[in-house]
Subunit: 237 residues, 2 copies
Amino acid sequence: MSQEKKCTRTLDISELKTEMVIMEWDQQQDIQPQNQREENGNLNVNNGGVMVMTDEQLETLRKQIAVYASLCEQLVQMHNNLTAQSHQHLTLTGGRLGNLYSDPLMTHSGHKISARQRWTPTAVQLRILERIFDEVTGTPSKQKIKEITSELSQHGQISETNVYNWFQNRRARSKRKQAVAAESEVETEVESPKTKQDNLPVPQAKQDACFQNPQITSQLHLLGGSYRSTHGRVSEI
Amino acid sequence: MSQEKKCTRTLDISELKTEMVIMEWDQQQDIQPQNQREENGNLNVNNGGVMVMTDEQLETLRKQIAVYASLCEQLVQMHNNLTAQSHQHLTLTGGRLGNLYSDPLMTHSGHKISARQRWTPTAVQLRILERIFDEVTGTPSKQKIKEITSELSQHGQISETNVYNWFQNRRARSKRKQAVAAESEVETEVESPKTKQDNLPVPQAKQDACFQNPQITSQLHLLGGSYRSTHGRVSEI
DNA sequence: GCTCTATGAATGAATG
DNA sequence: CATTCATTCATAGAGC
């Protein structure tokens, strides 16, 4: 990465921040336009299928949309700056959200490269899973799995097996992580005299000891993602 | 190294993260129905300027916001993937839902502790690993891993996880190499050389509607660029 | 410096 | 559950 690009990025982010602040204001209006259900007292819908709201509320909605639009624009801009050299660019076409459902991969020369086969939790699903994971001890029962699956299916393709596997893996890896963590805890107490490089001229040798700490390491992987920058490969959402 | 530069960016993004949490509240409505917000009185009040709109119109607004919100989330994820340094990650967490997220590793005053660095075996370590790899068939037991780690630590920073991963990868790739080699023998006779991206025989994706809100999934495809649904995990403190 | 590749690491799924 | 396998993601370095 070049120096210039970094500078640019920082700038973009700062601007983004500005917009977000506006959103906070919006949010303080405590309007819930997103709410799909006609909650009691939330929206006043009369018999004619007509909904009544104040100018102020409408204005809030509009502002929120504007903020999001602006946000998206800037995020896209940011992305383009980041990938300015050789990667693909994003485009936000007009205010209208077009329906470009085409997957570039699929449309290229009929060469179908398949999308991934294995399930990948969406951000939302993952959040929910993590929450449940913290709440519950042990692997959820069969019934519980069903419920969770049901809930998660609202946010993307998922099966009970996925959920089951996820909990199995999550538990196992959480456990192992702890074990290793405890291990390094002991190691840190005993200062090993030979831990440093008695071994010489390897330039890479200087490393922050922190990266060896499993606790930290796991947390470093905050949000993984599957974004393939090389070859411009794409797959579905 | 470029630690300072990363640090700078961390500052900006950490703040942005905070704002993003707020941004997300829209989406949370469907996910966390049990979370009660103070909705009463907000939309019913019509003192003075009263706005009347149909359900349809309202729905349009809602959708638009939802689309943008989702877009933003996706964009943020893309950003994370592009700037994959761990502490540059933006995070969208259900902050308003009692899921109080705080990154213990990152003081929001902007001082990062460490960046992720991946382990790189030294020449000596590699030689030892290769030797052991040839000696042993299959995966070394945990005990064995410990021993190896211990030995290798004489020659540089290393953790058991590193060793474990190394063997996993080494074995997997050795295997794959053989398979590909055998395959290409047959291939060369009949067909032109295949790229190594050519695997994954399963044709069409069955996870098209994999993103959270089904009604807006198609619109998310408006992004002409390459990205796909992400997987990832939230730090568990 | 920009791209490409080898490879460390993460993780869904499978197996015992 | 404990391990292992398979696949993919991300990146440090090599090469142009």
